[in-house]
């Protein structure tokens, strides 16, 4: 493999890791607050559709982004209602949200655009364009660093930079602020948070809300930056890969970045090479597709460092009387 090919694969790794990273951090906020969320997929899908639809109608991608975030937030509120207010089963609520999004997006797309459940292709200002960072020209002459800077670091859409900036921000928010301490506490010992006079319900709604916003950006990125428009089921299991990455990262922001880059790399390699010939044997493309899930099961099984979820995860909080 030559240098140019390697750069291309890494470049597409960054692109493919971005939606995973956003969704993974979204899940991190929610699950750290004790609300399991297997509805990441559905929220991304809803956001993908509404961002592409509104961007197609208004011609303004920022309006699309806003609409995507709102759609994702609406589903988050539904999840919050089911799992916080009515103390229902969080997993079942997540399943329902995934189906709701899968059905409604196609239904509405057919009604609005009559193109068999897709939106029109986005052009011009309807898409997030790649931005060229300053200094690409100046550094072009430098060997190795010049091409890396131009190909790998520069030339992505703004949402890619947002996603990567979210990692330190999430870390800072979780580990260096009062809000973060409380958020983590509410996922481990909500009764302690309650005793301290802080609203468990309020904190969990905020966490679920942040999760909705991040999923919204992830979905908008898929439909308006990575691709130019919405197609049916375009998230294609990314919400679950993000969930896998979250477990892989053991619910920690920096590790989430590494896990998402790893899974992004797997996707990029699977996309570029169908079957990988290692000489002695051939790695089939299906194995590459399944690898994130297999790795997650191995991690969950605790054979390679045990993944322990937040202690109060999945449990609705009932005040003692």
């Amino acid at each position: 493999m030559d240098f140019a090919t390697l750069l291309q694969v890494l470049d597409s790794t960054v692109r493919l890791a971005t939606p995973l990273l956003l969704a993974c951090l979204a899940g991190l906020f929610s699950e750290r607050a004790g609300i399991f969320d297997i509805g990441l997929e559905g929220k991304m899908l809803a956001a993908a559709f509404f961002s592409a639809a509104i961007a197609a109608i208004t011609g303004d991608v920022w309006m699309g982004l806003g609409a995507g975030i709102l759609a994702s937030l609406a589903l988050s509120v539904l999840h919050g209602l089911a799992s916080i207010t009515f103390r229902g089963n969080q997993l079942i609520s997540g399943v329902a949200i995934n189906f709701l999004a899968a059905g409604l997006t196609v239904l509405i797309a057919q009604d609005w655009f009559s193109q068999g459940g897709r939106t029109p292709s986005l052009i011009g200002a309807g898409r997030f364009e790649a931005i060229t960072l300053p200094g690409v020209e100046a550094m072009a002459g430098i060997p190795l660093i010049g091409p890396i800077y131009a190909e790998l670091i520069s030339g992505h859409s703004i949402l890619v930079y947002v996603a990567f900036a979210m990692v330190p921000l999430t870390w800072w928010l979780l580990y260096r602020t009062r809000f973060g301490l409380r958020l983590r506490a509410v996922g481990e010992a909500p009764e302690a948070v309650d005793t301290a006079g802080i609203s468990v319900v309020g904190l969990r709604y905020v966490a679920v809300g942040i999760c909705g916003v991040l999923c919204g950006i992830a979905g908008a990125y898929l439909a308006t930056a990575l691709q130019a428009g919405f197609v049916k089921d375009m998230t294609a299991g990314r919400g679950f890969i993000a969930l896998a990455a979250l477990i892989f990262a053991k619910w920690r922001p920096w590790y989430a970045l590494y896990a998402c880059l790893l899974f992004g790399l797997l996707q990029a390699v699977a996309l570029r090479y169908q079957n990988i010939d290692l000489g002695a044997f051939v790695v089939p493309v299906q194995f590459m597709d399944a690898l994130p899930y297999i790795l997650t099961v191995v991690i969950l099984a605790g054979f390679v460092g045990k993944a322990i979820p937040p202690r109060a995860g999945g449990e609705p909080y009932v005040k003692e009387r």
Binding site: F86, G88, D111, F287, A290
Partner: protein
């Protein structure tokens, strides 16, 4: 004292959730500019007014009975088996291998063999998540989700690289031999004068599904194992105290669940397609969740809910054929049913309980 009489819990709550889901679905239909009454009439006409419509309704219902029972058995042990889809896919592999590589003399011997094979394959696919849950505490919901994706990749590999006949383009096995062809409802119920269920895929596995309802009922409420499963589901600590092994119950309940999900493939693979195709499960594994929730994990409830979803599926296909309403409407209805019967259960239950308590206080 119970807050509500048993009948209210078993009948009233599902009924109210169903009405809520129906109202919201009607609103969705109005929202996309169609007439919900006309749509409902079209669904009834297409699914229930002709015998061929019934043939499709019962065909879909057969799938949902199997997957619904699978989820229900796991629910009794308080395990959420979201992996019915993957288990059914691998069950399909079991059916295909049994049908292709064993020379069966006739269809009923073949059906017995394929059933055993499907159940074993499905159960084995549930074994690893079950073992990991029981022994290592890995959350079964997450592992079964992961196993759905792994199953899809595995099946894709096997179909494309191993079982696909030479020269064939689509990822599917060869056609099963003639001896494994299951009698359809058309074969069974048509008389010389009138053809019944013409062209419909409903077949003898429907009766197998009904029989499994009975078997599951016997298992859960009439055997020691069933008692242990229920006891474990009600309270793990109490079950442990009573000498019930959590590891054994988790694994056994998941094996039964996976086996039932795997048997679903009999209907689609052996009964309908007569070869194994890539997307043989068509999401039936997930509909099992809605069916089990709505049927309150009781085999009779599962049967009724499966019939309802069979009707919705066939009716939805009719709608997609004759109107501008895509099939995804059914996915929305399915989501609403799961939401109201599963996650927002308390939203319906809390006011009802208050109502019953208030009326009791008056009496």
């Amino acid at each position: 004292m119970d807050k509500m009489p048993g009948w209210a819990d078993a009948v009233l709550v599902p009924l109210i959730t169903l009405i809520l889901a129906a109202i919201l679905s009607a609103l969705v239909i109005i929202g996309i500019g169609e007439d919900p009454v006309a749509a409902f009439k079209l669904m009834v006409d297409g699914a229930l007014m002709r015998s061929s419509g019934w043939g499709y309704t019962l065909y879909y219902a057969t799938n949902f009975i199997f997957t619904g029972l699978a989820v229900a058995v796991a629910f009794h042990a308080r395990l959420f088996n979201i992996g019915g889809e993957g288990q059914a896919m691998i069950g399909g592999l079991g059916v295909a291998l049994a049908c292709l590589y064993i020379p069966w003399p006739n269809w009923y011997v073949a059906l017995v063999g394929a059933t055993v094979s499907a159940a074993i394959f499905g159960a084995l696919w549930a074994l690893i998540p079950a073992y990991l849950q029981a022994k290592r505490g890995s959350h079964i919901v997450i592992t079964t989700i992961m196993f759905n994706f792994i199953a899809a990749a595995l099946l894709n590999y096997v179909l494309v690289n191993i079982l696909r006949p030479q020269g064939a383009m689509d990822p599917a096995t060869a056609r099963f031999p003639e001896a494994t062809k299951l009698p359809t409802f058309q074969d069974m119920f048509s008389t010389a004068e009138t053809a019944m269920f013409r062209g419909a895929p409903a077949n003898v596995t429907f009766f197998l599904a009904i029989a499994m309802c009975l078997v599951v009922w016997l298992l859960i409420w009439r055997t020691k194992l069933g008692y242990e499963i229920r006891a474990f589901g009600q309270s793990e600590s109490a079950a442990k105290y009573a000498g019930i092994s959590p590891v054994k119950i988790t694994v056994v309940a998941m094996l039964i669940s996976g086996g039932l999900a795997g048997m679903m493939a009999l209907n689609t693979t052996m009964g309908e397609a007569e070869r194994l195709v890539m997307n043989a499960t068509e999401g039936a594994g997930f509909i099992g969740i809605a069916v089990a929730l709505m049927g309150r994990s009781h085999p009779l409830g599962v049967l009724l809910a499966a019939l309802l979803f069979g009707f919705l599926y066939q009716g939805g296909a009719e709608l997609a054929l004759w109107t501008n309403i895509p099939r995804e409407l059914i996915v929305v209805i399915q989501a609403l049913v799961i939401l109201f019967t599963g996650a927002l259960d308390n939203m319906v239950r809390m006011p009802l309980e208050k109502l019953f308590l208030a009326s009791r206080r008056k009496a």
